[in-house]
Subunit: 487 residues, 2 copies
Amino acid sequence: MEAKQAALAHAEELLTCDGVTLAPEASVEGRARTLGVLSEMEYEIAASPEAQRLLEELEEHSDELDEQVRREVKVLRRETAKILKIPAEEYMQYSMLVSEASDVWIRAKNSNDYALFAPYLEKIVAANRRMAALWNPNEEPYNVLLDNFEEGLTTEACDGFFRTVRSEIVPLLEKIKEIRAPHEAFALRAYDLAGQEKLAHALMDLEGIDAKRCVLGTTEHPFTSGFNNKDVRITTHYHENSFLSSVYSVLHEGGHAIYEMNGDDRFNYTCLYGGASMSIHESQSRFYENIIGRSRAFSGPMLKVCREIFPEQLRDVTEDQFYREINIAEPSLIRTEADELTYSLHVMVRYEIEKQLIAGSLSVAEVPAVWNNLYEEYLGIRPQNDREGCLQDSHWSGGMLGYFPSYALGSAYGAQMLARMEEQVEHVWESVADGDLEPVTAWLKENIHQYSALYPPMELLERVCGKFDPSYYTNYLKAKFTELYHL
Amino acid sequence: MEAKQAALAHAEELLTCDGVTLAPEASVEGRARTLGVLSEMEYEIAASPEAQRLLEELEEHSDELDEQVRREVKVLRRETAKILKIPAEEYMQYSMLVSEASDVWIRAKNSNDYALFAPYLEKIVAANRRMAALWNPNEEPYNVLLDNFEEGLTTEACDGFFRTVRSEIVPLLEKIKEIRAPHEAFALRAYDLAGQEKLAHALMDLEGIDAKRCVLGTTEHPFTSGFNNKDVRITTHYHENSFLSSVYSVLHEGGHAIYEMNGDDRFNYTCLYGGASMSIHESQSRFYENIIGRSRAFSGPMLKVCREIFPEQLRDVTEDQFYREINIAEPSLIRTEADELTYSLHVMVRYEIEKQLIAGSLSVAEVPAVWNNLYEEYLGIRPQNDREGCLQDSHWSGGMLGYFPSYALGSAYGAQMLARMEEQVEHVWESVADGDLEPVTAWLKENIHQYSALYPPMELLERVCGKFDPSYYTNYLKAKFTELYHL
């Protein structure tokens, strides 16, 4: 059963990955159809009486199982229980819907045409509400969706977390906004795309990514797709006038890839492959992107690698200038391009909207206006069009409602992990300053990566660095940006 | 049943295609595993009592079915009968074996190490003999394998066909060899790889390929992979000092792609998608590559497109020089680079070897020596290493024993189709000379492409241009090369 599910998951991931990278434009229909049929097959496997009987039996003898099998049974029970509550026909329809919607979203974004995407979002929201009610009729639907991505996460917990973050970050941002630090000249220069691709590979190297197990592609919206710990794909996008966009996409997706590649072999082809949860995954990607990638220590090695490929553009740049530029904090419109400080506020906009969409207190038609209003409220800046507004992210088109909070939680987890890492790894920042991430990655592998989904996310976090405490995150940000901006 | 098979086939094709284009090196094991499980699932679907009962029932009411469904039932019966005769375990093992062998073959070829590949070939030959005996214990195993790719094809028929070809072509080649036409200077110049990639896209355009439905990739050994008529992939390879190699790979694979894209929508996601047989497929790819692509009429448009991208290298070349260069006939070592005249002789080497391997009269260890001897015998030239010898083709590593004859048959079918096309399409060569392949493709679509596998190959050929007669082919070659070499 698990082997078949793993094989189907591998095929589905590759079809999806291919769909947004290489596949010809007209391939949409055939891919949607195939994904629909494969997910129907997944359903049938999970729903089969034999599979259910087997899982029940294993669960009954849970204490005789080793730790890994016990956890596999638990995860499979949780997953199949979810699947079994959705009628087969609806499950297949939904899979085809999100496949089509993903392609429509790309067109809608490119043509700044929210109306094109709206009917699909409508259907996706409705389907998610229906599914949430089927999964757990006694719970608020949005809580059910949050739990879907992060076991045990609730609206209440998110509200509390975001309240804390907001109360600490908004005042900090207010002060910084007054300073209005100018961009460094180098950031605005032209960087040819062929060079940027070369740089992307050099950065993967610097990050310690094994090219035999991970390849790089190009796509609209960067992502990571891992099939097993020896076959991971990351993607980036190139814009001539903002080379740092690709640089940090590569570090971010590279963080996801390292996590997947460092999982133990024993989790390959099982339901435990791929990581503990979305938040833990984001904690790793953002660890490499921000905590390491935007640190003062790593600015030296980063600048060196960038300068090897773009000597002209970066001739006159100092490490301090580089460090300041990659940490300019300012209100902006695009989440994936947001700086480390304001990032959570972008997430909060999406969180508020999807919470209301699912609650039914906001209609799909109202999304663009509410989006723009919330950007004004939280960030003090207003999108001029939906392409830079509510059409910018792929998540909703892929049916991922309840996912966004994990981005912000991931950053917070990462800061808490860092505190423990600094206690346990001697001279860690000296190594980073030498461009050697081996001690960092070894610690993350030892404490997090190797376990894949063997432990539930909160349990894993507690094992590594104690109970979740968002003040590690806010303290980290306050310290970093107070020093950077001489506040 | 058919929907599931189509979805699994789509996934398997994409996994395989990805494996030889983009996938990271270490991904071999995971892909082999997934392909093994998926093919086990295909087996289970085909072998299920319900599926068998359904097919039997449909067959009993065959006269009530429309032409397409009747044919689908027949093809599925043929295919599932074959599958059912192989034990599930062996079927899965074989699928994993060829997946691994394909990757080993690439390494063996790159390192010119036949010994690395030999154990895999050994297993593949043994498995094919076992499967042939299971499929039809009353038939010579090699006949069974031939029939596998081309319904009704026999060793006797192949022996006869090759005898004819040989008796006509070898004397022609003997005469031409004495002339020893020199290569044109332009063919040996350096053509940068980026320009060659641009040229590949321009040639796809000239060939009339819809870029919305077909994309181009890069690989060691060019191939075409079609998932449905709106999603086809072709690949090529680039060598700086032989740009014509990629040029004709693109025309060849483009021919396969046009065939698949011109199939009726109604055959998508059915067992009839993809073409009537391997030989008919090759007749189309070689039609575009040779009959059109190496014609005097098309030399003008070809040279024009090539010169737009490589003006320096092709400045001083006339259409006649171009035509002569693309038709230089001479003994050579690499089948895929062979000229139109000698091509069948390359195929004959492989045919003789695999016939004997399957018969058991030749051991895997003897293959390199026999290969080299046969090249000397048929072509008068001897490979200096296995990389240029028996390791050059991917087919055996992919388990395709009994496939090679279809290449030569395809050329012969194409020549016979051409004769009919010339009768039916007015001014066809004038259009080709204008760079307009629309009349050619429209005729092929009308007569061949649209039908996919609705008719068995021989029946399709007869409908189009009467009973198969190899003299069309030999006459075509004699006329073309006698004129070219003023014999």
